[in-house]
């Protein structure tokens, strides 16, 4: 029996993996199953009917798919999903445009300056996210800082409506999520072998060509990781649309909230949630599969 077998076969190893597994099961999978169960349950005044009942030796499974059918037929829900995905995609794209040059600059700056720059990226996290979003409300309001300043300077005569528009929503989301794009990109770019760029220049590539042919393809995994970290929470974002978004900014998170707390229709809310999770998980799973297949293809 080799040392390796001893290590892999020991119960200690199982325990180390087991603890986070149990945690994930308890706080993610189990609640999700409960939510899923609710989504296929029938409302009975204030309680849900059980999906599985045992009366007179008869097991009755009652799965109500009505909510899913309703969801699929209601254009409002479909539109909301689409608009959520759209806002999330837009936010992700803008984050990428801002974060890439920033991460690149950080990764190429002298090694002794990088911790300070990294600190700057993380600094906003020291203030509550909620407070920072509220601050944007003050800045963007009709009589907010920006409008007042522009008016005082005579640049505009009427306040520009910025609050409660798609603009304020995307701005808020970009502002909040841009560090989540910067960090994985930075981690990727800082590891890059700079000799590859020298090799590209040596072979006749201009610095611009070297960037697009070498740096960008090699940072693919960083781009994908950052995009995931921004896109996924943005799809289900509730607080930012609630505080900064207006009536035109349909986001699934707000619909979810309304179903739960205004309509008190828990099964419908659960359905919305389940579909949202599936909407995100399916592409993610496909992506992971693709990554696993091409693993090692680019050791970036």
């Amino acid at each position: 029996m080799s040392i390796r077998d001893k290590v892999t076969g020991s119960w200690g190893r199982s325990a180390v993996i087991g603890v986070p597994m149990v945690f994930l099961l308890a706080v993610f999978l189990l609640p999700f199953l409960i939510v899923f169960k609710i989504s296929v349950s029938e409302m009975d005044v204030v309680l849900f009917k059980d999906v599985l009942t045992w009366t007179d030796d008869v097991v009755t499974v009652s799965v109500k798919l009505g909510n899913y059918i309703a969801l699929a037929q209601d254009s409002l829900y479909i539109q909301t999903y689409l608009s959520s995905l759209q806002f999330a995609a837009m936010t992700t794209a803008i984050c990428l445009l801002i974060a890439y040059p920033f991460a690149y600059f950080m990764a190429r700056s002298p090694a002794d300056k990088r911790p300070a720059l990294l600190m700057l990226v993380m600094l906003p996290f020291w203030t509550s996210f909620l407070l920072r979003v509220y601050a944007w409300k003050m800045l963007l309001a009709d009589s907010g800082v920006f409008n007042n300043m522009a008016m005082a300077l005579g640049l505009i005569s009427e306040p520009i409506k910025m609050m409660n528009t798609p603009f304020s929503l995307v701005l808020g989301m970009v502002y909040t999520y841009v560090p989540f794009m910067i960090l994985p990109l930075y981690a990727n770019l800082v590891k890059m072998d700079l000799r590859l760029l020298e090799a590209a220049l040596d072979l006749g590539a201009t610095p611009w060509q070297a960037f697009w042919r070498i740096t960008v393809p090699l940072s693919k995994s960083g781009i994908i990781a950052g995009s995931m970290l921004v896109f996924i929470p943005c799809v289900g974002e509730f607080v930012i649309p609630e505080l900064l978004g207006g009536p035109q900014t349909l986001m699934i998170g707000r619909v979810l909230w309304d179903e739960f707390f205004s309509n008190n229709d828990w099964p419908m809310a659960a359905t919305v949630a389940v579909v949202m999770v599936l909407l995100i998980i399916v592409p993610l799973a496909l992506f992971n599969k693709h990554q696993a297949e091409t693993a090692g293809g680019g050791r970036a």
Partner: protein, 384 residues
């Protein structure tokens, strides 16, 4: 040691201007001279090796040729044209990087085609050239592989093909075989020289491995502390080093410190604490001058009994060029044995003996008292 049998141009043959002229090149990093006024001429078709230990400035010099470093002052002329102001991508020079720097996300084919594509060559031309290069390095079957799917030796060949694909005027090799293991390195050295000769490209290589330099290069420049100490063919560098550093850096050497006692046109006598040296040629020095006598270990003879007068190079040497000592250590290396002999005055000299016969009549061993002698014509007197 020098297995170089290449009939390549050695000294300036045509008397014309050298192909690559490096003129008083200086590179300062802050206040440190990485390269200190190096002047060097390299002929077309040469394989020139810059040899030195790490930090001697050889890599900086190579990077200035490639265009990754800008010289503080000086000129680099390639075929008469000053290239100092050209960006790396504008120079007709390609480099094979240390540990290759292959693009990990591109296939072998795309790696080789990278430079050709940047030149905007037509597609059929690119395909033909890549095929030609793959042929040259015998990697046709691996065209679709990614670099990480190749062995070290194969990666090295891809790197070579990539740097030759653009038919550069000058090929730079940065520690070309440093990433390979010893056995593979030996074979690859000659293979690499073969390919470079086939293409006929002028080549400057940088290495810290003297064996690599001696096997591959037509001429070697030994560098230390930003300066070139000696330039010459491998055998010149080995047999007639011009200073202690070069003598010690290339191969191993026994150095005897002494003073010139007799300074005649046809011979000199140098007295050192170990013995008196009789050297059968004149030197540029004066009596009383402090010098070093350098003797290579393989040029020494070792035996338990004193050599007969007739066995010496000439009768004039009897009583000279010989010392007695005790074998302190020995290393049996198969083809040869290295003896560390502690001479009577305490100096330890290294003597190598080729094991020509399978069973030597007398086998020397630890603690044996031996005579060590050598021929006055085989030593080099170093004045610096």
């Amino acid at each position: 040691m020098a297995t170089n049998s290449n009939p390549r141009p050695e000294a300036p043959a045509n008397g014309g201007a050298p192909f690559l002229q490096i003129k008083r090149i200086v590179k300062k990093f802050d206040d440190v001279f990485a390269v200190d006024e190096v002047t060097l001429d390299i002929q077309q078709g040469e394989i020139f090796a810059l040899l030195g230990s790490s930090g001697c400035g050889k890599s900086t010099l190579l990077r200035m040729l490639a265009g990754f470093e800008t010289p503080t002052s000086g000129q680099i002329l390639l075929a008469g044209q000053d290239i100092v102001t050209l960006a790396p991508y504008e120079r007709p020079i390609n480099m094979m990087f240390q540990s290759y720097a292959l693009f990990p996300h591109l296939t072998v084919w795309d790696n080789i085609a990278f430079g050709l594509r940047r030149d905007g060559l037509p597609k059929p031309e690119i395909e033909a050239r890549v095929a030609q290069m793959l042929d040259l390095v015998q990697l046709k079957a691996y065209a679709k592989r990614k670099p990480h799917q190749l062995s070290g030796g194969q990666q090295q060949r891809v790197a070579l093909a990539r740097s030759l694909a653009k038919r550069p005027k000058l090929l730079l090799l940065d520690e070309p075989l440093g990433a390979l293991d010893a056995k593979l390195r030996e074979r690859t050295q000659l293979e690499l020289v073969g390919i470079i000769e086939q293409v006929g490209v002028t080549c400057v290589m940088v290495t810290h491995d003297q064996e690599e330099a001696m096997t591959m290069a037509t001429r070697i420049g030994v560098m230390s502390e930003g300066k070139i100490l000696q330039i010459g063919r491998p055998d010149e560098i080995y047999e007639t080093p011009n200073c202690r550093f070069v003598a010690d850096f290339i191969g191993s050497v026994n150095l005897f410190k002494g003073n010139v006692e007799e300074d005649e046109p046809d011979h000199v006598v140098i007295a050192s604490p170990e013995c008196k040296h009789y050297i059968n040629h004149g030197i540029t020095g004066t009596a009383g001058m402090a010098v070093h006598v350098a003797v290579r270990p393989e040029k020494m003879s070792i035996r338990q009994t004193q050599p007969l007068d007739g066995e010496r190079e000439s009768l004039a040497e009897v009583g000279f060029n010989m010392a007695q000592g005790v074998i302190q250590d020995l290393a049996y290396l198969g083809s040869l044995t290295t003896y560390h002999v502690k001479l009577d005055n305490g100096t330890v000299v290294k003597v190598t003996h080729t094991n020509a016969a399978r069973h030597a009549a007398i086998r020397l061993t630890w603690g044996d008292r031996v005579y060590v002698w050598w021929c006055g014509g085989d030593v080099v007197v170093l004045t610096r």
